[in-house]
């Protein structure tokens, strides 16, 4: 039995914390949408399409965080052999696919609005597409690769290599002069490159999306562990019946 029951005090505390996180994520998201639609000024050149920025950039951030989480959890699983790390790695990879898909889709739509094209083989876009392929490969390897510890090792190595792509995506516009706008947030960005209210809204949006990610990841990890527990239960029943 791997999952903590909700009837124990610790289980109830976790359950309350998880519910609280969900309520916080919903409330913060409502505020975030208000800020994006009503509070932030409209950009002069791009018009309202610039508001895609407040979704696109946090999704990009989470796409990169997810692969780092997958790699970290994979390393921890290789070291400790504890099932919870594997559940975390797998769950984060699933979210990674969703975020990477959304980065590409939202970027393509914004690209059409701003540049007049859906896609360009720009360094940032291409490295993000590579990240998407890494996530998909990871999940395919888990589903169809060798079973047991060998498959897990292969997937872990892929995740660790994938994590190297995250800083490359971030630095792509600095290392290669491309169509994609220059960095406006993070350690490599120029200070003052973003209007104050836009910067606040972007930061807030990134925090809200991160809270939502933590909550959903928690739910998914819990579900994954229950799936593992049901598999164990199946084995027990097949042995007894």
């Amino acid at each position: 039995m791997t999952e903590m029951t909700v009837t124990t005090p610790a289980g109830m505390k976790r359950s309350l914390l998880r519910d609280g996180l969900m309520v916080a994520a919903a409330a913060l998201m409502a505020v975030n949408l208000y800020l994006i639609f009503f509070w932030v000024p409209t950009e002069a050149n791009l018009g309202v399409s610039q508001r895609i920025f407040y979704f696109h950039v946090p999704l990009g951030w989470l796409g990169m965080v997810s692969i780092v989480v997958v790699a970290f959890a994979s390393i921890m699983h290789l070291i400790t052999r504890k099932q919870k790390w594997d559940a975390l790695a797998y769950s984060s990879a699933e979210f990674g696919v969703i975020f990477a898909t959304l980065i590409i889709v939202t970027g393509a739509i914004w690209g059409k609005a701003a540049w007049g094209v859906w896609w360009s083989w720009d360094a940032k876009l291409t490295t993000t597409l590579i990240l998407w392929f890494i996530y998909v490969s990871y999940l395919m390897l888990r589903a169809y690769g060798p079973k047991g510890s060998q498959g897990l090792r292969y997937a872990s190595v892929l995740a660790i290599i994938g994590a190297i792509d995250a800083p490359i995506i971030y630095m792509a516009t600095t290392w290669w002069r491309t169509l994609h706008p220059e960095l406006v947030v993070g350690p490599a960005a120029e200070s003052g490159s973003l209007e104050a209210r836009m910067g606040i809204a972007l930061l807030f949006s990134a925090i809200v999306f991160t809270v939502m990610y933590i909550y959903l990841l928690w739910e998914r990890v819990s579900l994954r562990r229950q799936e593992d527990a049901v598999d164990e239960f199946h084995q027990t029943v097949s042995l007894r019946v």
């Binding site: 029951t5 018009g47 979704f55 939202t106 229950q226 799936e227």
Partner: protein, 122 residues
Amino acid sequence: MQLMSSIRQSHFVCKATLAAVVLVVVLAAYGVFAGVASASVERPQAVAGQVIVPQAEEGQAREPEANLPYLFAVFIITWALMFGYVFYMSRRQQSLQREIELLRAALNEKAGKQANEVGANQ
């Protein structure tokens, strides 16, 4: 039994509420924003017999509300995918619960049969 209690029962309602809240906010924002934009920007009047040509890309970018469909496409796709995934998780949880009930029934049936056999032997 312990496993059954570990399956969290009804987050589905909470998630549906979250979905409804976000959807209402987005739709309200769309309504208000589109209303404000259409009131503040002069639109070209259609003249009988005149063909209305779509605006050039550059021109579109200059008008504040010209790219509104792109903005809402992004928001709708993002939320559709997110809630689609949450829905998948809820369904998976329900199917796990059904699976456990079946397994428990199989175990109880087996235990009942064994008890009957022991009783008959005695």
